[in-house]
Symmetry: C2
Subunit: 256 residues, 2 copies
């Protein structure tokens, strides 16, 4: 249950993670999470984990924690392993895999957002991945909590909407559904993809856009998504109340 001092995930944030919802012992959308980790490994030039091994590791963590029967969050971590010289990776990477599980309550209250000073760095591929270098997201969330809110609203360095510190954002306006494009420095969220697919199946397209926060003005509703919370309506942004969201239940099938 521990990792050596020289692991690059620990020393430099060189690695990836996934947070998978488990419900009654089942890993929800496991293959989507595994695919994302594989794609992310390719971006970072890391070897990808074996998928069967990844699943056994996640399931083992759930059982070890005695959480097989409840709603739980399984966190899977894939580090670049030990070795190298400073920033430089060793010639042969030997990544480390581990998983942990904790009970996961679903937030019931709508979220209050506050715009964070920390921006997302859309110039970096890491802005679209769940990496072990997540300190900017911690700072953004910390800012939001300090301001009495629940989650940060993050812009990118161009001033465009990106999302929450640990969530994607959607908004309904003029009866159209919008979300920031991935190249705005947006995590390619699993729940985000599911909403886009569900909308498509319901006969309309989610528009992936590059817009500033003024686009949220007069929205008919704003909501956040991630694998653990599913959909969470936004009640207020920077203190301004938002309209309650009605559309979301339709879009999110198979998630509680």
């Amino acid at each position: 249950m521990s990792i050596p001092f020289n692991d690059r995930g620990l020393t430099l944030g060189d690695g990836l993670f996934e947070t998978v919802l488990a419900d009654g012992g089942e890993l929800v959308a496991f293959d989507r999470h595994a695919e994302r980790m594989e794609r992310s490994c390719a971006v970072l030039d890391l070897p990808a984990p074996d998928r069967a091994h990844l699943r056994r590791c996640a399931e083992g963590a759930l059982v070890d924690a005695g959480l097989g029967g409840v709603r739980a969050a399984v966190r899977i971590t894939w580090t670049a392993g030990s070795g190298g010289r400073g920033l430089e990776r060793p010639a042969e990477l030997q990544p480390r895999l581990f998983a942990t599980a904790v009970a996961a309550l679903k937030p019931t209250a709508p979220a209050r957002l506050v715009t964070a000073r920390v921006r997302r760095n859309e110039s970096s591929p890491t802005s679209r991945l769940k990496t072990l270098s997540y300190l900017d997201n911690i700072l953004a969330r910390h800012e939001a909590l300090d301001a009495g809110a629940d989650e940060a609203l993050m812009l990118n360095t161009r001033g465009e909407l990106a999302g929450g510190a640990a969530a994607n954002i959607f908004w309904l306006k003029d009866d159209r559904l919008f979300t920031p494009a991935l190249d705005c420095g947006v995590l390619a969220g699993i729940a985000r993809a599911e909403v886009i697919e569900a909308a498509s199946q319901a006969g309309f397209a989610v528009e992936e856009v590059r817009v500033g926060p003024e686009a949220l003005a007069r929205a008919q509703g704003v909501f956040l998504t991630n694998s653990l919370i599913g959909l969470r309506p936004v009640a207020a942004i920077d203190g301004a109340p938002q309209q309650p969201v009605q559309v979301t239940a339709v879009l999110m099938r198979g998630r509680r």
Copy 2:
């Protein structure tokens, strides 16, 4: 020699590090490193380590590694410790401290730089700190090595010069010495501060500027600094040869 799976430094890059040069058993500029870590803790809202404890930990690592008599790099790591829920830190942080030491050769060849695609995020305070979320720097260095160079030249998201992936940058032009301003997303380097002080003592001011890479054109010399390498001349940028640097030896007293 290991850290638990739930340490926030490991899971989210929530923490800081210092890399201190040790020479014949002496920690070079230890107090400057300790001060930087203390200042950085304040920025990240982390408790700061006790300085005497920090020193003992660093000295212990040097002795344990049997490197008391040689040129070595002591890496001190200060994580946010365990606990919290996702991005949110626990109410009471209990940071972890550890140090490791490795032999450190001084590079003898001038550096070849390649401009990295990954930019530094000057909007984030983490761009000025040595944090455990260093993946963008790893990617920038990786790009440089892939291109057959030694180090990345990093711009910020505004396109201004910032520095290397693990070094600050200076250039001499029109007989004036320049370096990017800290608010360009520049690490507040110890060697950087020493060069600025040495220049001041030699009767001239280093100009801290916000400029694009075109400012390096027709420079009389470009060099990198960090605590381990001291000064390292730059031989080429994106394949274009640079003039050899003569000025640097004067500026860097007390470092080898």
